[in-house]
Amino acid sequence: MSLMNLNDQKSIHSNDERGVATANADVHIALHTTSAQTIMGKLAVLTDAAKYDVACTSSGIDRKGNGRDMGNCVAAGICHSFSADGRCISLLKILMSNECIYDCKYCINRRSNDVPRATFTPDEICELTMNFYRRNYIEGLFLSSGIINNPSYTMELIYQTLYKLRTVYRFHGYVHVKGIPGTDPVLIQQVGYLADRMSVNLELPTAESLEKLAPNKHRKTILTPMRQIQNGIAQGKQELALYRNAPSFVPAGQSTQMIIGATPESDYQIMSVAEGLYDKFGMKRVFYSAYVGVNEDKALPSVQTASPLLREHRLYQADWLLRFYHFRVEELLNEKHQNFNVLLDPKCDWALQHLEQFPVEINRAEYQMLLRVPGIGVKSAQRICKARKSGALNFDHLRKIGVVLKRALYFITCNGKMMYPTKLEENYITRNLLAEHEKLPFDKDGMTYRQLSLFDDAQENAALFGA
């Protein structure tokens, strides 16, 4: 394995021997690097152990290069590849170690599991990050870890890694770090100045579920660092307004994730928790992770149970509605309707329940109302608002702008006219919308592509997926 290769320094090779890296002309660090084969093995184990973590986004911050060091950040984030499950690969998502003192029932790395264990050294992580980034494989590092000895000890190791990455290897790209509940607040504070995003996993939607499945974790110890990070971000912004060069604290914001389907919460409960996190903790993102059975345990659904992918999809759709479409959870779900409609996306479902608010006149409706029309997304709504300033729009314009007319046509008028004579009636529209076949990233029953292709022939697949 080579060490870093920065600026005009020569790269240094050291196979199972001690090498010296000159990262910066005046800093000399002694590194001990293991052989390529060992790194391969570790990477496989520690990637495998990290794969159930969902957040792999590199978004939330625009940071230009400084003209000297490697790396910059793009606010929208960049996905560099897509793995065989269709999920985005944006960051080098690894665990520092999959050793763990905890015994959370749902977790593959729990103490009582007999799985191969490995631990990266800080230098190994730094080298991988630098070399992957330089080849445009990744946008940065996502570092999490099992608990070694105790939370503070683990966080300290993570801090050392980040410190090295930022100051010795001089990495200027994106870094996402997990905050470990129960850590000394001083460490969270220090890590926050080196990371772009931090996340503390909520793990499960309710405190009862957490108690049942993660006996070593407590709601309170999870919420404490979340609150600390939130306050740190707010304070950091204030300092930045006062002093231009104040160090930034978690500038890309905070996120969290919870497991869906391992415990009996309803969609309504889950979305209410998410809304609370957005409102009260200033979260940038809440991620939902369809439960994947990896452990046999009487407290868990059987390992054979299919992951609730459709449910996860509906939750993400609703999450989008909260964040970008100005919806509130109470509008989508309530005590009586606790779960999302399996057949229709939440926005369509809402529109059908509120036909009295339609049709909407494209040339006059407010932006917020345009957003609520099925078939009109954020970009289309923005384009409509800009374009109509200089003249009226008709249906042909809308199509060119990117509106999905076959969904929108039941809900809109242009200059007082509908596209076709249609009935504004729930059953009629529902029937027509269902006939359009919503594009899902998998089949409706939540089965995956591969499971289906087991029994099949090409024609049946084509019929199912319209391919």
């Binding site: 080579s2 790194i39 495998d48 060091d69 590849s81 793995s83 269709g86 374009a387 995956t448």
Partner: protein
């Protein structure tokens, strides 16, 4: 009514020269409206009646004048959108951009590209959106390999000519590196030397077989392949979704699919 078609070179400079000459033609011959003048980036397959075809000699001076006027009167944002449209591979791009600029200068609207009810703006929008998507894809999927002398090399096959927009992105994130991006489609090289400005080069040939990769290159490629394999969750394997997100045409030049 007589129509005029100005055939210009398929490059930003060529199209901008065409726009300059179109204005001049209108003035010299007293043509009533810009509507009867069209720009094209290649000779049409069938020539139309009552149409005069003229070939435009690319001039960087004329192109510079049009650029200056546009930035001054329509602003940088419009200039960016229009440049993106000109980078696309659509044949109607020159005409779309020309008429969008005419309209923008006439009504003095710095947000001219928002007027999507105008046919020419729509076409410009379509062209710019296609290039922008391609640019995004290239930022995502381009892969560098390290050569023996430490230089980074990447090959892309871009549908639209986005290399000029791609170079600043990588120059900003890899200021210390010497790197080369080769666009097979337009046979253009983007070159960046450590801590220097980047530039484009055309007309050179590259023998890929003669490239010698660094000792570590194979190791890192293998590591990344392992990483991509291990990160997928078996029970969620979904090639169709992967295909939607990462179309096959990009994979030929991507490390993890080689």
């Amino acid at each position: 009514m007589e129509e005029y078609v100005l055939v210009c070179e398929d490059s930003m400079e060529g199209i901008l020269t065409g726009i300059y000459d179109a204005y001049q033609l209108k003035k010299e011959r007293g043509i009533e409206s810009h509507d009867s003048i069209h720009l094209a980036v290649k000779e049409p397959d069938t020539q139309r009646l009552f149409t005069q075809y003229e070939h435009i000699q690319t001039s960087s001076e004329k192109a510079g004048k049009v650029t200056d006027t546009m930035i001054r009167q329509l602003g940088n944002e419009t200039w960016y959108r229009i440049s993106m449209a000109m980078a696309s591979c659509f044949e109607d791009k020159a005409d779309a951009v020309y008429h969008t600029i005419v309209l923008g200068l006439r009504v003095q609207d710095r947000q001219i590209t928002d007027r999507l009810q105008e046919a020419c703006v729509q076409r410009t929008f379509k062209c710019a959106r296609a290039s922008e998507n391609e640019l995004c894809h290239m930022k995502q999927f381009l892969r560098f390999s390290e050569l023996q002398n430490g230089m980074l090399y990447a090959k892309i096959d871009a549908k639209h000519h986005v290399l000029p927009f791609l170079m600043p992105h990588f120059a900003d994130r890899l200021p210390a590196d010497n790197f080369v991006i080769y666009d097979e489609n337009t046979q253009t090289f983007g070159l960046h030397a450590s801590y220097k400005n980047w530039y484009l080069m055309q007309g050179a040939a590259l023998d890929e077989g003669s490239l010698v990769y660094s000792e570590d290159e194979a190791v890192y490629q293998e590591l990344f392949k392992r990483f991509c394999d291990s990160i997928a969750i078996e029970s969620r394997i979904n090639p169709k979704l992967q295909m939607n997100m990462l179309p096959l045409r990009f994979r030929a030049n991507m490390t993890e699919f080689q």
